[in-house]
Assembly symmetry: C2
Homo-oligomer: 253 residues x 2
Amino acid sequence: MPTSAAAARLDKLPDLDGEDSAPRYHQIREALWLRIQSGDWRPGDLLPPESELCAHFQVSRGTARRAIDDLVAQGAIERRQGKGSFVARPKFTGSIAGSYAIYRTGAVPHDRDSRLLSCRRLRVRRELAKLMGLPPQTTVYEVERLQFMEGEPITWARSVIPAELCLGLEKQDLAHEHFYELLERRFGLSLLRAEEFIEPALPDRYIARYLKVARGTPLFMIERHSYTVNERMAEHRIVYMRGDRFRMKVDLR
Amino acid sequence: MPTSAAAARLDKLPDLDGEDSAPRYHQIREALWLRIQSGDWRPGDLLPPESELCAHFQVSRGTARRAIDDLVAQGAIERRQGKGSFVARPKFTGSIAGSYAIYRTGAVPHDRDSRLLSCRRLRVRRELAKLMGLPPQTTVYEVERLQFMEGEPITWARSVIPAELCLGLEKQDLAHEHFYELLERRFGLSLLRAEEFIEPALPDRYIARYLKVARGTPLFMIERHSYTVNERMAEHRIVYMRGDRFRMKVDLR
DNA sequence: GAGTGGTCTAGACCACGTT
DNA sequence: ACGTGGTCTAGACCACTCA
């Protein structure tokens, strides 16, 4: 069942460990982050006010704030003045974002659209089961989609998700709803973080046909591992993105 | 002249603006960052102790520290307990690092080496002059190098630098010294930040020969713009990196 | 107006590196 | 021993949101 905007409670949160040499703000940060990772606190949940955190952990407000500051910097918590602090909804869900940005070679992208190619229920391939930490023969959903910008095909993507995490996925509106929002809202499946591995690649015949590019057109191949509660891999995604229309920008300091 | 490890002074640093609605820590951060960007304070310089910053800006230590915290997070300042705070040396100089990481597909990279292909003095190409903000016909150095890992060619790179920033570059040991360290030490040229644009690409005959790959092998093409004092572009670099041996990793939150 | 986070203060003691 | 940054406290007032 989809849960939205509950209140995060401090029940059974450990006290600070006097023996632990780590700073208090660090211990507090660990305790809160564990709550989020474990799924006790879910994206959108309202955190207890700072005053309550101070009282619970027996620290001054500066120390409690420092812990939250770090979680905010880490992207795990959002603050809203006057309202409270909330468990953050994952940032990388929107477009392709995060610590790098995709830039169109030319104009600014708008006008997004996507098309569902297929959604199948099947047994996971052996290699993928190993990579995802699933028992052999686990049933998964395999979703293939195309993303368009300004009417032009830009990315082809195939996602694999353990079926038990989203039973009935094939009945959902996969064509138009945002994929991660759908998982969150319909199945209560929240993705907390992801890793991406990026390589240059060339399209095979299948991909080239969908992206409407010549076989020799350079592409980005992006492999994404998305994790949910308890560090469990909930989605394995392969994306091919046209390199003739997009590039990535990285700021170095 | 190479300057190393001077002391940063607070001379003529502006007072806080009471009219400014921005928080004090923000105004302090801006003032310090401007000092660094302008070149008054150089990488490696020792900052005044926090006590002195507090006295100068008439703020409490918490506020001064908050300003420095932000600059540390931004990568502009490094703290060393017991010693002091220092203007950071750029992080992206070592390998390719920053907000993303290059991962070898297979074993861990070690055993680096590089080879100088050429170092020429010539007039900058018209398009590049425009991109770099240089007058037409400006004299530049053009340096081509190969980088090896475990005896295998991994990247080919061509750097273009305005000649006046590093007069006599051709006499330096470009083969073995780290390039950015050499610029810093011999010419006092410090690069403060950089932007990279990454695309998938295929090698032309020239690049393929150096990297010892077939013409159809996918590569990363990385264009780097490095900036020195006053937001002046000091280096324009094109890198081709083998995509069959390396990939990039990005962490999303 | 009540409650939240945002900013700031003026102290304190500790850990580390140098002299 | 001394000076640096690292951690922490117990207050204060302001800005924003919502009832």
